[in-house]
Each structure stands twice: as C-alpha cells, then as structure tokens.
C-alpha cells in the first residue's frame, strides 16, 4: 500500500513534467470530455432524479410535525442535495464509470505495448496520456455536478408534489429560503478534488498494469475501489475543514 502511494506520486510527477511534446493538447482534452463527460450525462441525470426524489420523500415523512414549517422540506432537500448528494454520491457514481473506463483503456494500451510505442518515439507517455484526462475531468465534472443538482431538485419537486401531495409553492419557497452561496462553492470545490482523485488514481492503476487482459480487469476494479475510498476520506476531511 505504502509502495503504491509512493509510485502514485512518482507517476504524478511525470504527468506534470515537461511533456516532451505537446501538440494537439486541447483537442485531446475535448476528446476526453466527450468520452468521459458527455457520456456520463444520462447516468448522472437518472441517478440524481431518483435520489433527489427519495430524499424529499424521506424528509417529508420524517418532518411531518405541526412544529416544523411546511417549507422546511424544500430547504432541507436543497441543503442535502447541494452539500452531499450531488458532489459525493455522484462523485462515487463517476468513480465507477469514469474510473473503470480510464483504467481499462490505459491498461489495455499498456499490455498491448501502445504505451511503449509512444515512449519510444521520445514522448513522455504519462503526461501525454494522463494529463488530458485529469484536465477534462476537472473541467467537466463541475458541470455534471451542476446538472446533478438541478435534476435532483427537479426530482425532489416532482416527488414532493406528485407523490407526497406537498404544495408546489411551499417546496419552492423552501428551496429559495436562506440562500447561502457558499454551499455551491463548497460543492464545486469538493467536485474538483474528487475529479482529480478519480482521474489520477484510475490512470495510475491502468498505466502501471503488468501482464495481460486478466490484470487489466483487476486494475479496473482497484481503480474504482481506491478512487471511491479517496473520495470518502477526502470528503470527511473537507467537511471538517470547510464547514
């Protein structure tokens, strides 16, 4: 474990070293945004709508008391969604989707000697292959999280109004009460950190595969597990630090 962490930092050092050659960098970033980001939009929306709905229903059931004002459900749903649900839950979902994609792609390139082929041309393969993925995730994941917030709130509204027979006015009033812009900043900050962990940790496991197809599969699993652990631990640290 300690050895893996050491190797991870050595690889990161190479990623941020002079690339040897860096033409077409932004084209690569756009490609990665397309493959890693755009491709995740349906999954992120789907998960967010349903989790947003479930949270609202839970809140409504548990806050059903004459002492609590009706709009609190909307307010609490907003807080939960912006602070934890969107950044953290969707972070974990993306760790599964993006992480396994990156690790199996780089792992396959490793075992079929494609990485050696890039290296032998006199390029820094780590920087060439990994940096665009990190940049793409850090640029696009915040957009995914915004999307997640919006779709989760919409899901919450639909469930509250459609299933729990809340008044639409009360829910939306709740959503808008006690605005706190720092919450959004906090969500984006977490997302950036998670995006870095997902892309760099999965790249590490893919890039350093040794062996054949079987090892690529194992690397992909390790990538997802370890990015998820990194997300959960750093989430705890950041919650302590920032809130």
């Amino acid at each position: 474990m300690i050895k893996a962490i050491g190797e991870y930092f050595l690889l990161l050092q190479r990623v941020f070293q002079s690339p040897g050659n860096r033409k077409l960098f932004w084209k690569q970033v756009l490609d990665e945004i397309y493959h890693l980001g755009m491709d995740s939009i349906p999954l992120v929306s789907l998960v967010s709508v349903f989790v947003g709905a479930a949270i609202t229903i839970q809140l409504q059931i548990n806050m059903d008391s004459p002492w609590i004002p009706l709009y609190s459900v909307g307010f609490a749903a907003r807080k939960a969604i912006v602070l934890e649900l969107a950044p953290t839950i969707i972070g974990l979902v993306l760790a599964g989707k993006i992480g396994s994609h990156i690790a199996s792609q780089l792992g396959t390139m490793r075992v079929t000697e494609q990485i050696d082929a890039i290296e032998v041309m006199g390029m820094n393969s780590a920087s060439y292959l990994i940096l665009p993925k990190i940049i793409a995730c850090m640029l696009f994941n915040p957009i995914l999280i915004m999307l997640s917030i919006i779709t989760a709130l919409a899901g919450g509204w639909a469930a509250g109004v459609g299933i729990m027979h809340m008044s639409s006015f009360q829910f939306i009033y709740g959503l808008q009460s006690f605005p706190h812009n720092f919450d959004l900043v906090y969500a984006i900050a977490k997302t950036l950190v998670f995006a870095f962990f997902i892309s760099s940790i999965s790249s590490f496991y893919g890039y350093t595969v040794k062996g054949g197809a079987l090892e690529v599969g194992k690397a992909s699993t390790k990538a997802v597990v370890n990015s998820s652990i990194a997300i959960i631990l750093s989430n705890l640290v950041m919650t302590q630090l920032l809130m």
Partner: protein, 257 residues
C-alpha cells in the same frame, strides 16, 4: 552505428541477458536470432531504454542515455528511432492512416496535407494502398505488422528496430517485408536491427547475424557463412527448419565430395 557494451539485464530474479557486446553497422540489416525465450525482445527493449540495463551501456553513434537525469539525450536519440513491436502496438483508437501519421503529428512541422501524403507514401511501400480508413480491428495479423512498419519509417529514422517483423506472415508477404526493410536500410543508411527466427530471412538479408542463446551472445557471422558454422547450438537451431536442414545437408555433401 550502435554499440552495445557489457549489457546485462535481470528480470523476475533471473539474468535474461548476460554481458552482451555487439556492434551494429549502419546501412546493414543486423539480425538477432535465437530460440523463443532466448532474450531477443528483452535485448531490443533494453537497447531503446524501455527496460533499464542493470549493467553496461548502449551507444548510438557515441551517445548514451544512461545516467541521463533530464532525459534530454534519451529524447534526442528516441526521435531518431523507429520501432516495430512484436505485436504491432498499433493505437486502436485511431484508424490506419492516423496511426502512420501519429509521429508526424507529434514531431513534424509539415502541413496536414504533406503529412497525409507522407503517410500514404509509407503505406504504399508496405503494399497497403487504400487501407487508410480501416480501423485497426479490421486488419489481419500481417496487415497490422505492415502498418506498424509504415509507422516506424514515417519519420525516416536513423535507427530501425524490428521485433519479428515477419512472424505469422505467409512466405510471400514475408519476403516482401524483408526486401522492403533491406531496401530502406540501404537507401537511407539506417542502422537496422531485426529480431527473427525465420531462417529464410537469415539467409536472404542477414548482413550480420548474431545468435543469442540463453541470454548470451553465442555466435556472430552473416547469412552467407552461417551454414559453415560448426557451433553445436546454432546447428541445432538451424536443423529445426526444414529449409536450412536441407541446405545444411547439401552443403556438407558438397564439402565431402
């Protein structure tokens, strides 16, 4: 010229290469032959620095990249290297033409049109005209090898490394590939290193032949005098091929007569 000095390499706790000393001349096809598992691929990868040598060094016209902290020398030398991997190592996210153009895209300052025409020229040399648009998954094994060769020669390398460029190819295509490599080697005075266990290639294009046995350089000669060798291991190696077995037989009869 490439000079290998006292090169040793250990892998998985076993010494795979032992104290190899070798000079490889420009304008010639320098063959490295030996049984499967003898260490040909490891030797080639150690030469280009994909494996780090445990001892010894490799000089590319006097330049070595060992102990080169800034990777400057390494990068400089590698820009002059073309390499054909045993499995082709084509980029499967790119179609054929883009594969061949990849080094040009990375390093040349040519216009896009000039790069395309250079890539097409390389594809034509390996007899793959019109395969531009195919994706790598649509290629046969032999076509993959040929695309890999086209990619390796795209930047007009000064050193060309081919790991079994014609294994798995039919005899005719094999011969075409051999002829092609030998031709560009002579034309441009490239220092070419070819790993093979094809005796046909040894006899045809073996300007120098270096026989590796259990990680050691066992015998040196060329495609002409290899039949005269009295080295037991190399005779054993040659007798495994029907072609050379028969040639050896005729050769001995001639001498006895």
């Amino acid at each position: 010229m490439i000079e290998i000095r006292h090169l040793s390499k250990e892998l998985g706790g076993r010494e795979v290469l032992h104290d190899i000393n070798l000079k490889l001349e420009p304008g010639l096809c320098n063959l490295v032959i030996g049984q499967s598992g003898s260490g040909k691929t490891v030797l080639m990868k150690t030469m280009v620095g994909l494996y780090e040598a445990d001892a010894g060094e490799v000089l590319f016209d006097g330049r070595s990249f060992k102990r080169d902290k800034n990777h400057e020398q390494l990068t400089e030398i590698r820009r002059e290297i073309g390499m054909v991997f045993q499995g082709g190592a084509l980029f499967d996210s790119l179609p054929v033409l883009e594969n061949v153009m990849f080094p040009l895209d990375m390093f040349s300052t040519l216009s896009r049109r000039a790069k395309v025409s250079r890539a097409q020229e390389c594809l034509a040399r390996v007899d793959l005209k019109g395969a531009d648009k195919l994706s790598t998954s649509e290629l046969s094994g032999g076509m993959r090898k040929r695309v890999a060769i086209a990619r390796a020669i795209a930047m007009q390398p000064r050193y060309l490394f081919c790991d079994e460029p014609n294994s798995g190819l039919d005899p005719r295509t094999s011969e075409l590939i051999d002829a092609l490599i030998s031709e560009i080697t002579r034309e441009a005075g490239i220092t070419t290193v070819i790993n093979t266990h094809d005796m046909n290639s040894v006899l045809k294009i073996g300007d120098t032949v270096n026989f590796i046995y259990e990680g050691k350089l066992w015998w040196q000669g060329n495609g002409k005098n290899i039949l005269d060798s009295d080295n037991a291991e190399i005779i054993h190696f040659m007798e495994a091929s029907e072609l050379t077995k028969r040639l050896l037989h005729n050769h001995r009869n001639k001498h006895e007569a």
